[in-house]
Amino acid sequence: MTAMNSLMAVGLPSLRAPESRPVRLPTPARPAALAGNWLATQGRLPLAFMGLGLAWLVAATALLVAQPTLLSLPHPHPRVVALTHAWVLGFFVTVACGAVYQLAPVALGTTLCNERHGWWHFGLHAVGVPGMVYSFWRGDLKLLGHFGFAVALGIVLFAVNTWRTVQRSGRRGTVVWSLTLAAGWLLTTVLVGLLLAANRYWQFIPIDPVALLRAHAHLGLVGFFVTLLQGVGFQLVPMFTLGEVRDWRLANIGLGLSQTGLLTLAPALLWHLAPLGLLGALAIAASMICSGIGLKRALDSRKKRALDPGTRSFLRGGAGGCTAAIAGIALVSPGSPWGSAPGGFNAMIYAILGLAGGLLPCIAGMMCKIVPFLTWMRAYGPRVGRGPTPAAGALTHPRIERWGLALQGIAVVPLLVGAWTLSELWLRIGAWLLAVGVALFVADMLGVLKHLWFVPAPVPAMKRGGSR
């Protein structure tokens, strides 16, 4: 039996489960020592994913600064696909997986089912994604298959780990369903991506590769990210603002509509069924609006009036996502002249709205909350009760954080103008604004992470007096 399991046997997880009567936590010295060990190991895996995500944020931004005109090419171009995967699979998915490894046990009131599998996922992801981006850039489908297989294997471990953690917890509810479904959609997305690459190489299914690419993209964006954020938002926003979700109906309807919408939209994109695609897009937009209204009601009940930059950014991302969903409705409408051709209102505009205007502020906002908290847990958690400890938010530099997030948001405008008018100048301005915003954001995050290595003084041994 591991130390963690021993700890569960003595009852520490009762901290995390609502009880109908008072629960006595272990008082003998040995469980207390075990508790310290268990707590000391918390957060390593999610922090590793956050660190890798930061590295990808820098790399993906550098790629955009070096080649901003990629945004004026048709979206199926291999180098555009490489850039997209650097951002989505490199930054967004890496951070989101790290967040799930942290949030799933918290939301489920248990520990992660298998942390070792989580580390295997980390290794496979760290090796596989750079290989995939390189393969896309070079247009090497065979190499892409090898690295894609590694990434898929990691995602299999992630999904199974999430599902088993959910199963072990025995919990149900909107947040649990969102975690379960999001893991399933991410796995589906990666498998469809592998199918797409294999079909380009061997051509064993007579299907339009661009249509399959669009279905693959929406499985990931709506299936993984929207589904995840629709659940996680209702867990995190009330927790960080001392608010409460009094009525879960809107959250449930939002989640249900996004699933129905995606199940309608993905086949419609694949087989060019415009009316069905419109229905799916409408359902997805409605789902995001429902979740948004539900979150606003939770926010209205908050006791912490001032919203910190991370929460603001998360909410701004939600609004950006809704805007992208509305743009998606226009794109998928029957008879719509807009498509893959560069210039004007096209799929690239929709992608910039969704990724830079929606997902980037959401994920960056989540990082602003999660990274300081995990760092606090590791650096200052053991000092609680033994000396003064700062608040997690005090580890950040608010002004740098605010400016970093703001510049990332402002950069969306010139990027949209550049992609619409095919103007290299506007694209360069947008890419550089984004780069400055990212540089400030990364500097702030590194300033937080340095507390892991530069803790002021060692913690003295726990005093043992009497039975505690």
């Binding site: 901290l15 609502p18 008072p22 009131g109 001392l242 003064p388 608040a391 997690a392 938010g393 505690r468």
Partner: protein, 103 residues
């Protein structure tokens, strides 16, 4: 032999522990339900803002540690309860001011 701590000393010790998210100490946050001191034995009943509070483990351990460090303490017993559940109505006036709830 040192004097046994009174309830004021215990409340003060608990007041030294901040919640990492809000920066408000756990007494003003309303997390301490009761304190009993009898001949060096301390019994505290406390809660968390939410049962799934990720920093709950450290707050619980920190409360025990801070109390065990008080002079004259023989036994410390900290019970974590979730009934009644914590509500924002339990915030002290000072905490509400810190959180921007009241001027």
């Amino acid at each position: 032999m040192s004097a046994t701590p009174d309830s004021t000393a215990v409340w003060d010790a608990l007041r030294s522990i901040p919640d990492p998210e809000f920066g408000v100490n756990i007494v003003d946050l309303g997390l301490i339900y009761s304190v009993e001191c009898t001949d060096g034995d301390i019994a505290v009943t406390m809660t968390l803002t939410t049962p799934s509070c990720p920093s709950g483990g450290w707050i619980y351990e920190g409360a025990k540690e801070a109390l065990a460090r008080l002079p004259g303490v023989k036994n410390v017993n900290v019970a974590m309860v979730f009934d009644p559940p914590w509500t924002p109505a339990m915030l002290s006036e000072s905490a509400q001011r810190q959180l921007g709830r009241i001027d």
